[in-house]
Symmetry: C2
């Protein structure tokens, strides 16, 4: 398998991404000193910027990259940053992208408010640009993301999550934002509703396979890879696809033993035991097959688009998502 | 002074408020069981509902109470509830309106997500109703509220807050939402820009005197009144108008002594000492004068409106705000 490189994919829209970076940096600055300090700090925590990349590539695959595409890219990145900051507060995380998290530096209160501030800045950009179609899409996404996470919490508490619920949770909590990025990109560049549906589906399927891969990575290897610690989901009693499949694929006695381990205190050896169980029951292999199935659907969705370098880059992005190791 | 009763004021729009209650209750329900449980619980934590009251009275004072007014009232109440839930998370509060807080019952993670969910529901109501004017107003308010609170945090850390900053903080953090309620009410009922400006000013001035009164209540008496504990702001090093004035109105030696007390550990006796200091330096009297000044400005703003029972109710609300004891 060829290693796909994210910076290789970004290269085709290097200029557009640097225009976006400028608009994004300006958008988070504030006259309030504390807000501005946090904003500048955020710019140092460099993320992968997959979401703005999706907006711009989708726009380019459907037509031209316009002002509206840049506003859309800024809107989704602001929303994504707001979500990450709130996530770090609720998870008590002390690191983000190799730097101390905002809650760790400025405390929870400032972090929650900063999240609200970023969300409102994003919405204001869309309102000022009269992008009411973006607003409708993005607000629905905020609802889906919070409902998806709340569903996951509800199910996690009782350790009863089946494959159907798993797919619902990851569609809402992760894939919905990627779906939105691609839909906003399409909307910014074209009136063609076929393109809009195609891009939306591409984003949804890409997001699903992205999340399955994320969940697989929690089971792979037995040590830290690129800063990601194995077994975090198990520690948090999060039951994801590899484990769901393994539990279904085992005797009720084996399954009830694993459930007991999940409920109890998690030592290194319990985590190891659960990981081996998942491996022995083909949980990872099954998940990989499902991830590939969705990757193929994502690529399939692009067929209605003209063959352009942007479409090609979107195809490569699918390979990047399922091949990535962190 | 005549005691003004909130239920007396509400009586004139009893039917409208009950229509609102129905729409609001429906708006927060969800197919996700956990979300629905929290929503039902929230309906039991009955608040004063001052914000929907403001929307409906403002609409009535400017014209008729329309569908749009109900959507506006629902939008502001959803936003307000979202803010309260986030506030309880960051303050680690375990009570809200006489019941355990949502973070206390369902943990921080569910509470932060529920706040995000409520905000998105509010925005969706406005989007589905095509109330883009409401959206513009409310999103700006979310930005002002978070910036105002962040400014307060920044200033609180260094104990350097002057009167000008105090008024900026309370205008943004508290009064902006009341301003928005009244503006949305006016927008829903009339195209008259004079009415819109009048109602916006009324809401802003009402909100400022509401917050000054809140800050006075933190210094009054020496025991718990109606569940409100005296001295909470002092404990949190929050410097509000009574103390700002007292510090300005004292020798630099007295002031530096009080600052020392504020920075140190707060025992009952330090809190008592600070309260006596504020009282002896006329901090409360001064604040009361300023609150009345803004109440008068609020009533003054209503002069352009026709004399109706709704306008009269808005006038009574001003008295309620500055006379309230909790």
């Amino acid at each position: 398998m060829n290693k796909v490189n994210l910076s290789e994919i970004s290269k085709s829209i290097k200029n557009e991404l640097s225009v976006f970076e400028g608009i994004y940096s300006d958008s988070i600055r504030s006259k309030i000193q504390l807000v501005d300090w946090i904003a500048k700090y955020m710019l140092k925590q460099k993320g992968k910027k997959i979401r703005p990349l999706l907006v711009i590539l989708s726009a380019k695959a459907c037509g031209e990259v316009s002002e509206r595409a840049y506003r859309g890219a800024t809107l989704v990145e602001l929303l994504h940053s707001a979500t990450l900051i709130h996530d770090d507060v609720v998870d008590n995380a002390d690191q983000r992208r190799g730097l101390p998290s905002i809650n760790a530096v400025w405390k929870n209160k400032a972090a929650v408010l900063m999240g609200d501030y970023l969300l409102s800045r994003g919405l204001l950009i869309a309102i000022n640009g009269r992008d009411f179609d973006f607003l409708e899409v993005i607000t629905n996404t905020v609802r889906r993301m919070s409902e998806g996470e709340l569903l996951q919490i509800q199910k996690t508490r009782k350790l009863d999550i089946d494959e159907e619920t798993y797919f619902r949770v990851i569609s809402d909590k992760t894939a919905s934002l990627m779906e939105t990025c691609c839909e906003i990109g399409a909307l910014s560049a074209s009136d063609d509703s076929e393109f809009r549906v195609a891009m939306r589906n591409y984003g949804l399927y890409l997001g699903i396979s992205f999340q399955i891969q994320d969940d697989i990575l929690d089971y792979e290897g037995s040590f830290k890879i690129f800063g990601k610690v194995i077994g975090t989901d198990i520690k948090e009693k999060k039951i994801t696809l590899p484990l769901i499949y393994a539990l279904k694929n085992s005797s009720s006695r084996e399954a009830s033993n694993i459930r007991k381990l999940l409920k109890g205190k998690k030592t290194k050896s319990t985590i190891k035991e659960i990981i081996s169980f998942v491996q022995s029951k083909d949980g990872i292999e099954y998940s990989r097959t499902r991830a590939r199935e969705y990757s193929n659907k994502a690529i399939e969705s692009l067929k209605v688009l003209p063959e352009t370098p942007a479409r090609h880059a979107l195809e490569s992005l699918v390979s990047f998502v399922v091949e990535r190791r962190n």
